[in-house]
Point group: C2
Chain length 358, copies 2
C-alpha cells in the first residue's frame, strides 16, 4: 500500500452507521498521502482548492459505479470497486490526451457497510491514485437506501492544441487500438456462469474464487481492475499523433461508431486484425459464441481507440517505441461513405451493439 | 426558462429505459446554452475541456442528493431536485470565497423515470445555472436499481490569497451569518406532518400542496430550493473581509462547531441575536418545540457562517452595502477557551447536534 497514516484494519466489521460522517472523512483523510505542490486545501473543508497546471487546460470528467449495474459484490472486492471507480475516470482523461491530477470521491453507502469495506474501497482507489499520480482532494459521503454507489470526478490537464476529441479524424485516417479486446467481457461471462445467477446482483460475504486457468484469471482481473491507458493517452496527445481518440468503456463496436459519427466518417474494421485476448477467444469459442462479435460488443475493456492521419505515421512509430510493451494494433480505417462495419470479403457487416446502460 | 433548443415536453411519460443513454445525453445537450468563452469541449465527449480562469486557483467540490435521504418525491418536484443539487455545490464554492464556473451532472435514474422527469430535473438545474453563471459541461447517466441520485460536481475559481477556509479565524473574531435560519427545517417539518409518514420516503405521482400561510410557504420554498449565497461568498473572499467561512448545509450548530474546531477556538453564540425566520419561529413554537434549538440544529439553510477580525470591520460595512437586501447578522464571537455554546446569562449551554448523515 502506498498510503501513509495508520494502517486500517481490513476486517473491521463496525458499521459506518455507528461511525458518523465526520469520523469517516477523518479516517479517509489520514490515509491520503501528503498534499502535492499546488494543492492549497484538501479533504475536510467545504471544497478543495488547487493551482491549475501552468499553461494547461482543465479536463473534467465524472463516472459512477453502481452496485447491481456496474459491479456485483460476489465478483469484485471493495478494493476492486475502488480501483475501478478511479480507473474509468482516468481512462476518460487519457482519451482526451490529458494527464489526471485530482480526484473527488462521492460515496453512497448502504447502512450495513462496514469500516473494513470502506477501507478496502480506499485501498483500491489509492493504489491506482499512486500509480497514476492522482491526488484525492475531497468528496462527499452519504447513506444510500439502496445500492453502494462510488462516483468519482477527475480533474486533469492538457496543453492547448494537444486535446484529443472524438471528432477530429478524417476519412483515410487509420484506426488503432491499444492492448487486447474481449478480456473483460470473457472475465465477466466466466464470473456470471460460476455464480449461476446471471442477472441478479446480491450482496455476499464471500467472493467467488478466481479461475485456475491463467488466461481466464487474467480476463477476470481485467474486468475487476481495468488498466487505464493513462501514459499512452497523454503521449498520443502530447506528440499530436492521433487525430481523434476515445476509450472502449462501452466496447470497441460502440467506440468505432461514436468516433466515426463525431468525425463524420464511416469506418471499415478488418476482423482478422482485431487483437482478441487469446483466453477470451478460447472462452467465447468454447461457449459456442462468435468470439469476434462477443469481443467487439463487450464493454469494460478501457483500451483506447484512436485515429492516425497518414502524415503522423512517423510520430506513431515514436509512440510505439515508448508504449512499454502495450500492444498497439491497426484494425482498419475511416472511410468516406459513412457506413460502419466489419470487412467480410468486399462487404461490410454491421457491428454488434455495445453495452447498453438502460 | 433560460435554455435554448427545442422546448422539452414536461409531461412526457416515455421512460428513460426506452430512450437510451445517448439519446438522453443528446436531449440534455440540446438544452444547454451556447458554450461560454474558454469551454473547448462540452457535453458529448469522454471529458470536458476548459481554460482555467487566468491567475486564479481551481475550487473543486461534489455533493449528491439521494432519494429517501436528501429528498422525498412527495415534497420536491424534479425541478426542485435539480435546482437543489446544483445549489448545494454552488454554496460550497461560495463558502470558499470562490465563483462557480462549470458543473458536471452524474444522474442515476430508476428504470421507471420518465423523460418528463429528466426534463424537470434539467429545468431546475439550468435555472440556477443561468442565475449563477454556471455552465453544464458534462456528466454521466446510468440506471439505478434503487433511488434516484443526482450527484453534481462544481469547478469554480478563486484568486490566490482570497481563499476562505474554515480554519483561518482567531479568538476575538466576530461571527456573522447571512440570511435567516430555521426556515428550511420548519418547511421540512411542515411537509413531514402533512405527509403523515415522517420517515418513509416513497415515490408519488402527486406533490403535496404548499401551505396557504405565506411565511410557511416561504419556509417550504427555502427547503425545496435553497438560495446559495454565491455573490456574498465571492464578495467576502475578494474583499478579504472574512477570516474563515463555511456554509450551513448541516445547520448552524454544526457550522459553528466545525469552524471553531478548524480555527482552534471556542465560540459563544448569543441566542438573542440569532436571525430566526419569523414563520419558522412561529411554527416551531406552535409545535411545542424550542424554536432556537430547532433552528440551529436544522440543516438545509445554505446560508454562510463567517468570522470577521476586528481589523476588517470597515470592509464588512462595504460588504453590507453590496448585500442587496440579504441580511447579515452578528451572532457571537470566537473565544480563547475552546468551549462552544449558546450564551445563557454568564453560562454557555451546549449546542444541539446538527444533521446526521448516518
Amino acid at each position: 500500500m502506498s498510503s501513509p497514516g495508520n494502517p486500517p484494519v481490513r476486517n473491521n466489521t463496525q458499521r459506518v452507521s455507528d461511525t458518523g460522517e465526520r469520523a469517516l472523512i477523518e479516517r479517509i483523510r489520514r490515509r491520503v498521502p501528503p498534499a502535492p505542490p499546488g494543492l492549497l486545501v484538501g479533504i475536510g473543508d467545504d471544497a478543495a482548492v488547487a493551482a491549475p497546471d501552468r499553461g494547461a487546460l482543465q479536463v473534467l470528467t465524472t463516472d459512477a459505479l453502481v452496485e447491481g449495474i456496474h459491479f456485483d459484490r460476489r465478483f469484485s472486492t471493495p478494493a476492486d470497486i475502488g480501483y475501478k471507480a478511479l480507473a474509468v475516470n482516468v481512462s476518460d482523461v487519457a482519451s482526451m490526451g490529458g494527464a489526471p491530477r485530482f480526484a473527488l470521491l462521492s460515496l453512497m453507502l448502504p447502512i450495513q457497510t462496514t469500516l473494513g469495506e470502506v477501507d478496502g474501497l480506499l485501498d483500491g482507489l489509492l493504489d491506482l491514485a499512486a500509480e497514476t499520480r492522482v491526488s484525492l482532494v475531497g468528496g462527499n459521503i452519504t447513506r444510500s437506501p439502496g445500492p453502494l454507489v462510488v462516483d468519482v470526478t477527475v480533474v486533469g490537464s492538457v496543453k492547448p492544441r494537444k486535446v484529443l476529441t472524438r471528432g477530429g479524424a478524417h476519412a483515410g485516417d487509420a484506426l488503432y487500438v491499444t492492448g487486447q479486446i474481449g478480456a473483460a467481457a470473457a472475465g465477466l461471462a466466466w464470473l456470471r456462469r460460476e455464480a449461476g445467477e446471471p442477472d441478479e446482483a446480491h450482496r455476499a460475504d464471500t467472493i467467488l474464487p478466481r479461475p485456475d486457468e491463467p488466461g481466464l484469471a487474467e480476463c477476470v482481473a481485467r474486468y475487476c481492475r481495468p488498466q487505464p491507458r493513462a501514459r499512452i493517452g497523454a503521449l498520443l496527445g502530447r506528440t499530436r499523433t492521433a487525430s481523434a481518440c476515445m476509450d472502449l468503456s462501452d466496447g470497441l463496436a460502440d467506440a468505432v461508431m461514436q468516433l466515426s459519427c463525431a468525425s463524420k466518417t464511416g469506418a471499415a474494421i478488418d476482423p482478422a486484425l482485431l487483437p482478441l485476448h487469446p483466453a477470451a477467444r478460447a472462452w467465447f469459442t468454447a461457449s459456442g459464441d462468435d468470439a469476434i462479435a462477443a469481443s467487439v460488443a463487450g464493454g469494460d475493456d478501457y483500451e483506447l481507440l484512436f485515429a492516425v492521419p497518414p502524415r503522423a505515421k512517423g510520430r506513431l512509430r515514436g509512440v510505439l517505441r515508448e508504449a512499454r510493451g502495450v500492444p498497439i494494433t491497426r484494425i482498419g480505417e475511416l472511410t468516406d461513405d459513412r457506413t460502419i462495419g466489419l470487412l467480410s470479403g468486399s462487404r461490410l457487416e454491421p457491428l454488434p451493439p455495445g453495452f447498453v446502460h438502460f
